[in-house]
Symmetry: C2
Subunit: 304 residues, 2 copies
């Protein structure tokens, strides 16, 4: 199975209102509730594809129990470590124009809880063909948390995909994940806009790393390895919800690592799956029919 790690999951609430007006009171016409966090989105996409997957991470408090119940109701296998702090909620207020986000700060994780998670992670890797590490770190964890997990995965021979930002990304890259998937903004924050050239991206490859895959929104994916690069792009601009497209891309990359898929078909698949996520209404889900259509239409080419 593919193991997905979500250290800072959330209960994602979406409130539909007619129009958000600051300092007014709004009757919410509909409430949608789903398990949130990038790693859970990756797991959801893999599960929708029928791939064996196991979601792990940290959950705590009544909101954590709610996330667990929603994960269970979706039939998604999971093995989360309990924490004393309370899992965060996110509230997205969707009106006719656009969406407004309110993100709770999330729990503080203790050193003992982190140690217990690391032991669980090590045990779960026993059955894992690949591992995806996604999203932000909760308070209390050192910024090298992903680096620690990447080193354990490598020591056990399990390939890893890292999708995070900032210091967690910088330190994670130094530990040599098999793949890292920054988007352009995350890459620029790390290396500056001048560093987003191919040699700049290549300089991020640590010993043990196979590639950095940069997601560039509607312009598709750019994979840079030690001795080459590949690009793939969707056939046309897509309308839909771009939230979750990066997580679908990570799902495709993790599956590709498991199957040793060569770059051209792997990138084509990752672009098609991302596009199928844009076509689906909520993050963590995909439009399976459009996925097949996109797969046929997208051709990956090499460059560089």
């Amino acid at each position: 199975m593919i193991l997905t790690v979500t250290l800072n999951p959330a209960l994602d609430l979406t409130y539909e209102v007619e129009q958000l007006r600051p300092y007014a009171t709004h009757r919410v016409s509909a409430v949608h509730e789903r398990p949130g966090g990038k790693g859970l989105n990756v797991a959801g996409v893999l599960h929708a594809l029928g791939e064996p997957v196991l979601a792990t991470g940290l959950l705590g408090g009544p909101t954590g129990a709610r996330v667990q119940a929603l994960v269970d109701a979706a039939g998604l296998p999971s093995s989360f470590a309990p924490i004393a702090g309370e899992t965060r909620r996110t509230v997205t207020v969707a009106d006719r124009t656009d969406a407004t986000g309110l993100w709770e700060p999330g729990p503080v994780v203790s050193a003992a809880e982190w140690s217990a998670f690391v032991a669980r992670f090590r045990a779960l890797l026993d059955g894992a063909a690949a591992v995806a590490l996604s999203g932000s770190l909760p308070a209390g964890l050192a910024p090298d948390a992903y680096a620690v997990l990447i080193e354990i995965a490598r020591s056990l021979g399990v390939p890893s995909v890292l999708d995070t930002s900032g210091e967690a990304l910088r330190l994670g890259l130094l530990a040599g994940p098999t793949l890292a998937k920054p988007n352009e903004a995350e890459l620029a924050a790390l290396v500056g806009s001048s560093g987003s050239s191919e040699p700049g991206i290549r300089s991020l490859l640590a010993p043990g790393s196979a590639a950095v895959v940069v997601s560039r929104g509607p312009r598709g994916l750019h994979a840079v390895t030690a001795d080459g690069s590949w690009r793939a792009a969707p056939p046309s601009a897509l309308r839909g919800n771009p939230t979750g497209a990066g997580d679908a891309c990570v799902a495709a990359l993790a599956r590709g690592l498991r199957d040793d898929t060569p770059w051209p078909p792997l990138l084509a698949d990752a672009v098609a799956l991302s596009a199928a996520a844009v076509a689906a209404p909520v993050a963590g889900s995909i439009d399976i029919e459009r996925y097949s259509q996109f797969k046929e239409a997208i051709d990956a080419g090499t460059d560089g």
Copy 2:
């Protein structure tokens, strides 16, 4: 004890943000969580005063369980009836300027659940010296729900205070609650602005009703009975949080009914307790020290 009824309670969440900007994403700096709903505020004020109180109403789903846990943690005695639907949340986004409200629609209550609640209500009245009926009705309940409860209370000799709005208020008034406490806007919605004269208010008294008490914000209270009227006002304009002032007023009125307090001291007490609620930071709590100060300062007079 005094029984308080909350048919549509809520989990009240307050999110502190720097400034609410539509279509941006906000990091919430602090989250506050409390049991909400007007009847629970009334119960909270009575409990803070050391008065024996019992909170009843309808709770369901994980959010209902969370409200129950918060009620228990506050040491507030309660006997809520379970429902299958999920208790609503309210989210208040507080920034440096003011507050923005987002109210979930709340559960739908079935006929069987309502019957079970009515049976519970009847049983709980056995030990009640007064009952306060507060707030909106959840979907699925007929607008005469409060009228049904008022008739049962009267048949058992328990005086009642009704604090609601719209059709639930209109039908409730016809059933003859001992007291009703509309605010000026609720009264105007019922009888038109011309009907808010003293004879207009008096016309709302049904057989069995002792008085209608109109709350007029900073201008205080106006009690109208079959043969007289009384007014009381705070000593000066108050700064603070007016949410919950009406619930503190209902708490004072319910206690006054229990103790057969004459109108002048009862109205003075209700104004002082409302002012003490304005002085406290959150609804359902009071500033006990300022309550004593206000009580000394406020003098009720008769007119009409």
